[in-house]
């Protein structure tokens, strides 16, 4: 009995008229939690009832507290007939379960009905009393904090980053149950909403358990998605990065015992002191800082798959006491002493062979998620990210109907989770699917010489019974000093780590071995430090590191593609799709590359590629933020070449195009202020000499061995072969060559040139911060826009379709600029496009972004207070963590050689995996960087530039916040929020970013994760689909804001709309829409207020010793 939930219904207002005769309503409220229901009295004849109920008390398990929402139903009492429901409110109790988050939920909630939308508001008070429970067998994970934010949350310090956590739960979709035929749409919608609430609660709890087991106390970068698989079920899955976070507060020491943070709920941690039981094979007990570091022989010698490993020594009893949990398969089990290792996961990659993993999963056991060195984070404390290899991605096409039929699928059996059975097995099929994809990603990363994947994300696209699973991330090397074992995988590259690269360019340096490159790329010496090699272009899924040296501003780059596909069913369809995928990826990549060059930039950040399937077409959309990294060579131009040189007409035409391209490049350079610093130029001879040599070597180097087949571009078909050769022959040319040989190519070039730059005063990007803009002012407007296009002509060509799709995206952007014109100068940040093909001939694009104003005058400078707005306090504190952690690690390089052997095995894995199941023909390997091979692009050798200026840029970390008395600020804030709680509605800001410019986040109140269904049978009366969706989106915003306000917050950060599924039937005058949103509820205070409070250290002082 570990918890008591108390709820009080205070009042209602603006209720709808339920009794036509009196124009009034006799309202009462049902409060339900689990299976217990309470009722208030009927408040007769009022649209603004005052119930002022007693406290309804629910005595429940904390497990239920996590899973179940509090369900409040407002009804109209009717003496003679059934009571009419007015609407419902679901309240997620989870935020009350953290020890330091909100203590009470209190406020006005919109009363929501799936048919009528918002119908009035209700004032509710909710409290939870948690009893301490020392039951180590417990199923709950109360107290684990969840953050959607994909960086270390402000005000926290990551003591340990444990690594990847994932989970999924499956259930039958109520919409497809037999009972749905006889119940009302409202009942069906409510069943669905409630089920999804329950499922995401359960999912969160399970992830929390994994985190606790790892010894963490928080999940950062929590990403939860729904897969509506129709007949085959409803999947809720989530990934995240487990961390041990410590709260930073001005007064308290950062050296408090690491257990203090999770202590309140560290129920499964009997050994709270430094001396933990040690696990793994035979680790010596590591009880204090300088931990003896052990060369683990585990890597190649395949450890027993089920060895109870506890990678995170702190905070955890040995796992086999957790009887109720599936034992984790351990590998590597590189345990370090307390405080000794962040990112322990990294130590443990590469160690298990594919066979073992297969074995593990097929024997019905959960694979240990921690085997994947994946991080859902997209930005890191400085010093954390050493090198970036490039984007790795994997896709796989699956047939959903297969999972009903074990005989046809792979050998594993599957069953749908019975909702009520706690002990139900994991939905294995899907687990295995993801498992496979993740393995592939891991091996791609390895091929790039990287031991980790950062900025990792997963998503699915479902059309009928075909499902495309995709995962992508950025292969990277994280600081080896902080994860000594991890770097051992990279044989022969250790020398690079000996002298730390400057942070402004270090991440650009190649992580792979230049003599044995996984793909041909043009390498040059870093234009910054001149010591390491860098590639000519860099694609990543992460945010631009805050200390990266760039020239000019960034810009939003998007590649769009449509491909027609024949209608087909089942297997044939899946095959057709998987055959198309590689071509799409290739073309998207080419487009991105061209567009990047056209803007004379050399790196992409925040790259996300979506492929959506429809019945008769595939849509591909790649979005990224381009930027000029000064460490990388300047991009060459784009040169147009004709195939038929004799034709004069043609030549004239080509010259025209060439001129237009050159003009565009010149214009873009000016527009984005890309003027790479030319502070000192070496004798080009010296420098180029080495380059040429190197390039030749690279070009001459053979295509990776067959054993790397898994990494090769799948469609290694004639066409691409031809292309690569062809392009390689141009290898020494100065510029990127585009061939104009047919109408397709002409189309391509035209589409290249049709991208309009944003109008004056506007900038756009899809990353957290806009590269090149630092001085945000506080105005901010988050928005969601959805557009659906109906293709009237069924016989469209690919080109026509492409044009339509491109125009759709471009027009959306134009619309945004126009609508937000009053905010200039302003930047559209975090532009997040998502495409879908809801039905045949429909294309749906949904965008969520935020417009933020900035101060125009100072944009040229990179002001010193940059860290303040970017990450406020985390700057210095986060730095402490690697430092602190590495303090006890001095001599680690010894084991380097022992771990090399893991590599070949895992690359053989994917080929093996490929044969396992259905999606085997699916394109499974498309590492972006490998694609580069197919395109010849050489470095413009004439211009070797480098810059020292940026290198010396003083990275002055603001110490502003450390000593500011937060407590005062908070109490002040609370006072002010209380004052407007009364009559008018308090303002709640929303942003997809993790920060609010000009403010400081003082408290995270918990995750907001909401799912709503809205349906109408009077579509025309509600203003058609647009009117219907407009009010639904507004209602969703309103409900998010209300929940945040009730938690005492005044903003939502890292807000995102994960799903927006719209199904319409205008003939029947019906429409249904599902929306899933999430974000972090926070309390912020304005920096100006802070300044008033802050005693000694002010912004002004940081300003003065700013950039030099």
């Amino acid at each position: 009995m570990p918890g008591k939930l108390k709820a009080k219904i205070v009042a209602g207002r603006h209720l709808p008229v339920m009794d036509r005769a009196s124009d009034l309503t006799d309202a009462f409220v049902e409060v339900k939690f689990g299976n217990t229901t309470f009722k208030t009295d009927v408040f007769p004849k009022s649209l603004n009832p005052q119930w002022n109920s007693e406290w309804f008390k629910f005595e429940v398990d904390d497990e239920d507290l996590q899973d179940e929402p509090l369900q409040i139903t407002v009804l109209d009492h009717d003496t003679y007939s059934a009571n009419d429901a007015i609407g419902k409110v679901y309240i997620d109790i989870d935020p009350l379960l953290y020890s330091e988050a909100a203590s009470v939920i209190s406020g006005w909630f919109p009363i929501y009905d799936t048919i009528h939308g918002i119908r009035g508001e209700i004032n509710v008070l909710v409290k939870v009393e948690l009893f301490n429970d020392l039951n180590r067998f417990r199923q709950s994970s109360c107290g684990v904090k969840f953050f959607c934010t994909t960086s270390i949350p402000k005000g926290y310090r990551a003591a340990i980053v444990h690594g990847f956590v994932e989970e999924l739960v499956v259930n039958e979709d109520p919409e497809y149950q037999w009972i749905d035929r006889i119940r009302t749409p409202r009942a069906s919608n409510e069943a669905r909403q409630r089920l999804i609430f329950l499922m995401s609660g359960e999912l969160q709890r399970k992830i929390g358990l994994k985190v606790l087991e790892m010894g963490g106390n928080a999940v950062v970068g929590y990403l939860q998605c729904f897969d509506l698989e129709g007949e085959s079920g409803l999947v809720v899955r989530a990934i995240g990065t487990a961390c041990t976070l410590e709260k930073l507060s001005s007064g308290s020491s950062t050296h408090t015992h690491p257990n203090t943070a999770p202590a309140s709920n560290a129920c499964n941690s009997p050994s709270k002191d430094g001396k933990e039981p040690v696990f793994g094979e035979d680790l010596p007990s590591s009880s204090g800082p300088p931990t003896p570091f052990r060369a683990l022989p585990t890597s190649s010698s395949s450890p027993p798959p089920f060895s109870p490993s506890k990678p995170c020594s702190r905070q955890s009893s040995s796992s086999d006491t957790d009887l109720s949990l599936t034992p984790k398969t351990g590998m590597g089990s590189g345990s370090m002493g307390k405080d000794a290792g962040p990112l322990k996961t990294l130590l443990r990659q590469q160690t298990q062979t594919a066979l073992e993993q297969r074995g593990a999963s097929s024997s019905g056991l959960l694979l240990n998620a921690r085997e994947f060195p994946f991080f859902t984070l997209t930005s890191f404390p400085s010093g954390f990210l050493l090198h970036v290899g490039g984007v790795v991605s994997a896709r796989s096409v699956k047939l959903l109907d297969r999972i009903h039929n074990p005989a046809l699928g792979n050998t594993r059996s599957y069953k749908l989770l019975d909702w009520n059975s706690v002990t139900a097995d994991e939905p294995e099929t899907r687990d295995a699917w993801w498992e496979e994809i993740r393995q592939e990603i891991k091996s791609h990363a390895k091929a790039l010489g990287c031991h980790a994947v950062v900025g990792y994300s997963e998503n699915t696209n479902i059309c009928e019974e075909v499902c495309i699973l995709s995962a992508s991330g950025t292969a990277a090397i994280l600081n080896p000093r902080y994860m000594r074992e991890g770097c051992l995988d990279i044989a022969g590259s250790d020398h690079r780590f000996e002298d730390p690269s400057p942070s402004s360019c270090g991440f650009c340096h190649i992580p792979y071995d230049e003599l044995n490159m996984p793909f041909p790329a043009q390498l040059t010496y870093c234009f910054h430090c001149r010591r390491q090699k860098v590639p000519d272009v860099l694609f990543t899924t992460i945010d631009l590191p805050s200390d990266a040296a760039i020239a000019g501003k960034g810009c939003f780059i998007q590649a769009r593609l449509c491909r027609l596909k024949k209608k087909a069913q089942g297997e044939v369809n899946a095959t057709a799709i998987s055959n198309l995928l590689p071509f799409m990826e290739y073309e998207l990549h080419t487009q991105l590359m061209n567009k990047l060059k056209l803007r004379s930039m050399n790196a992409l950040f925040g790259l996300s590629i979506q492929i959506s399937v429809g019945e008769n077409m595939l849509l591909g959309l790649a979005s990224a933020t381009g930027v000029y990294l000064t460490a990388l060579p300047a991009p060459g131009g784009i040169q147009i070449a004709g195939k038929t040189p004799g034709d004069l007409n043609n030549e004239q035409h080509i010259m025209n195009i060439q001129k237009r391209i050159n003009d565009t490049i010149a214009k873009n350079k000016e527009l984005y202020e890309v003027n790479p610093p030319k502070l000192f130029a070496l004798d080009p001879e010296v420098f180029c000499g080495t380059n040429v040599e190197l390039t030749e070597e690279v070009v001459g180097s053979p295509i990776p061995e067959p054993r790397h087949r898994s990494r090769l571009f799948r469609s290694h078909s004639e066409s691409s072969d031809e292309l690569s050769e062809l392009d390689l022959s141009h290898g020494k040319k100065d510029a990127f060559v585009l061939e104009v040989d047919d109408t397709d190519a002409v189309e391509d070039i035209h589409s290249l040139l049709t991208d309009a730059p944003p109008p004056k005063g506007f900038h756009s990007c899809n990353t957290e911060t806009m590269p090149g803009i630092y001085n945000w002012t506080s105005a901010l407007q988050m928005f969601t826009s959805v557009r659906v296009l109906r293709l009237s002509n069924a016989n469209l060509t690919n080109q026509a379709l492409n044009k339509i799709f491109t125009d759709l995206c471009e027009n959306l952007l134009k619309s945004f600029y126009f609508k937000l014109r009053s905010m200039v100068p302003c930047c559209l940040s975090h532009l997040n496009f998502s495409v879908a093909v809801p039905e045949e001939e429909l294309i749906q694009v949904a965008v969520t972004a935020v417009a933020m104003t900035f101060d125009k005058d100072q944009t040229q400078e990179k002001p010193a207070e940059k860290p303040i707005m970017k990450g406020c306090s985390e700057g210095e504190e986060q730095l402490q963590f690697p430092l602190e952690l590495c303090a006890d690690s001095s001599s680690v390089n010894s084991q380097s050689s022992s771990r090399i052997s893991g590599v070949p095995e895992s690359s053989s894995l994917s080929t093996r995996a490929a044969s396992v199941d259905y999606g085997s023909f699916a394109d499974r390997c498309s590492t972006w960087l490998e694609l580069l091979r197919l395109k010849a692009h050489t470095i413009r050798r004439g211009s070797v530039k480098t810059s020292r200026r940026t290198q010396s840029l003083a990275h002055s970390v603001s110490s502003l916040e450390h000593s500011s008395p937060i407590t005062e600020g908070r109490s002040r804030l609370l006072r002010s929020s209380r004052s407007f709680g009364g009559s008018s509605v308090s303002v709640v800001k929303m942003t997809p970013l993790s920060f609010l410019p000009g403010t400081r986040i003082v408290k995270y109140l918990g995750i907001i994760n909401m799912f709503f269904i809205r349906e109408t049978t009077s579509l025309r009366e509600e203003g058609g689909v647009s009117g219907f969706l407009h009010s639904f989106v507004a209602e969703v915003f309103a409900m998010v804001r209300a929940h945040v306000a009730a938690l005492g917050g005044n903003a939502v950060v890292s807000y995102s709309m994960k799903d927006c599924v719209l199904m319409e039937n205008p003939n029947k005058n019906q429409c249904q829409c599902l929306i899933n949103v999430s974000g972090d509820a926070v309390i912020y205070i304005r920096e100006t207020d802070l300044e008033a409070i802050a005693s000694t250290v002010g912004l002004s002082s940081t300003n003065s010793d700013g950039a030099t």
Partner: protein
Amino acid sequence: MAVELDVFVGNTIIMSEEVYQLWLDGYTVNDAVKVRMDGGALDEFEANADVVQSDTMDQYRTFQMCERLLHSPTKLANQLLFQIPPHRQATLIERYYAFDDGFVREVLGKKLSKGTKKDLDDISAKTGVMLKSCRRQFDNFKRVFKVVEELKGPLVENIRQHFLLSDKLARDYAAIVFFANNRFETGKRKLQYLTFQDLAFCAGQLINNWTVGAVDNMVEDMDVDLDKEFLQELKELKVLITDKDLLDQHKSLVCTALRGKTKAFNEMEANFKNLSRGLVNIATKLTNTKDVRDFFIDLVEKFIEPCRSDRWTAADMKLYLTHYTNSAHILDTFKHQVVWDRYMGVIKSCIFKMYHD
């Protein structure tokens, strides 16, 4: 290929005052787009017709959704559906309740009923205000009328509190309510020269001086209905014209005071009895509802027109009325000084306001 759906929703409401005005004025989306494009919207930010169309649609939808809330503006402040900054709320409300003087002049004093609503298309044609806008304005009048009808306390204050309007607009609405309630005739040709503002001013005078609320401020309908007792007392003023001596005495007092001060003295002297009869007769007939309705037309016919035909200036008028009022106090047999002042105070300021071309 057609755009099936196109929405743009901001966390904070996104609106342009220009589009709001077009919406209020009753433009259809297409007309509004045309107006905006003619107004130069295309020059900004590389917009094209589609962009303007889409933006206009979004805003129109937003306004339509807000309209329900605007009907009871107090709800706008504590509703949760839209996040609207306070200054935007004020603009939304103030503009929604704003009206065209031309339109309101047409319905002033008419019964705010379905019948009148049916005539709106004629009014629309006559005034050039779009029918949709006419309907909104008419419904606003009706809504305000309905709400304040049953409230106690000062009319202007009630309107301001329930509809969150500015003081000026609240006063105008008070006038509209007052006219509608008392059904003053304002539509006659002779009254056409009067603007809404003239009449609103007069209504303000009447509300402040002649209603029940002017003496007792906690009565229902206190500001909407004229003080019956006062109207009864006005009958007593008849003595000023029925008593020959009193009339002559009054005339001589006024003429003495005016002599040499104005060019129109001869006309004033000649017309005194006529004018005085006119004003006093208006007063004595006000117990009759029918005559209350004709109050303004009587003022014009019985007083303003004769003066105008004699080419009195506004200054003449002022001088005359001041002395006319004050002289009554010196009449030793005239006992109704208080009623006289209450009556003449209003008449004076109304006539001052109404005496123009």
